[in-house]
């Protein structure tokens, strides 16, 4: 009896896992693609526009270098050469800050500035 129950339970568990994952993927798909008419997605391009990155460098020097160092090697703030976050997260941290660690620049920098700054940060290697 136990064996039968356990066999059925395994099948149910496997199916539930698959259904859950598919549902989550479906919800994500609907939110990303289904709403594309209402909200454009920002491409996560790894290609860096030199001109934009140059402007990002100027913004960095003006707003960020005091804590992160002029070479972005870290001072009071962290070393940005070791940044391993995606563009979206970088932009999010710039605009929203990190509680207790970094101020938010969402009201100081506009969207174009944040993108330029992100672009510059992308040029930093290890």
């Amino acid at each position: 009896m136990n064996t039968l129950n356990e066999g059925r339970a395994c099948a149910v568990a496997f199916l539930t896992s698959c259904v859950s994952l598919l549902t989550i993927a479906g919800v994500a798909f609907v939110f990303t693609n289904g709403l594309s008419g209402k909200q454009s997605r920002v491409p996560e391009s790894r290609e860096v526009d030199v001109e934009v990155a140059g402007r990002g460098r100027q913004i960095f020097v003006k707003h960020c270098a005091e804590c992160h160092g002029y070479e972005a090697r870290g001072d009071e703030g962290s070393d940005l050469h070791k940044l391993r976050a995606g563009d979206a997260l970088i932009r999010q941290v710039i605009t929203g800050g990190i509680k207790g660690a970094m101020p938010a620049y969402g009201k100081v920098l506009n969207d174009s500035d944040v993108r330029a700054l992100t672009s510059y940060l992308r040029t930093l290697g290890d």
Partner: protein
């Protein structure tokens, strides 16, 4: 929902993820202790506690996944650290849901062999959850 700041969802995800993590590790601890105890009411008590902790972990994992998806703007893969986080998080979520379903469906006490397999998968799940937690922390706070 889209209009709500992803900062809010990042903070919500940070809060929500700790529930399934704590419940899962608690379930693993109680179930493991129960497994090695001699057959007694005490063993049964440990297994019942493990049973409910796992169910709570399964339920709370949906909140963690939802807030995480909202924070990443509904990206199920991503790049860099986010991709690394997802490579741990998705198997962990599937395993948690699977284990929870298994424990809900097995009404009568599972055989000792089945429970040993369950504990092994649970340990595997804990490893994935630990990986997801670590990579998630690196994603947000990594220097």
């Amino acid at each position: 929902m889209i209009g709500i700041s992803s900062i809010f969802w990042t903070q919500a995800h940070g809060a929500a993820t700790h529930f399934p993590i704590a419940f899962l590790f608690g379930a693993a601890l109680f179930d493991a202790i129960g497994f090695f105890l001699p057959d007694s009411s005490k063993r049964r008590s440990f297994q019942i506690t493990g049973h409910w902790l796992l169910i709570l972990s399964g339920l709370s994992s949906f909140g963690a996944v939802f807030s995480g998806l909202a924070a990443s703007r509904w990206s199920v893969s991503g790049t860099g650290a986010l991709l690394q986080h997802h490579l741990f998080a998705w198997p962990a979520f599937a395993l948690i849901v699977g284990l929870t379903s298994w424990r809900i469906v097995v009404v009568s006490s599972p055989s000792r062999r089945a429970f040993a397999v369950y504990l092994s998968v649970l340990a595997f799940t804990c490893a994935f959850v630990a990986g997801a937690a670590w990579s998630g922390g690196e994603l947000l706070m990594g220097h």
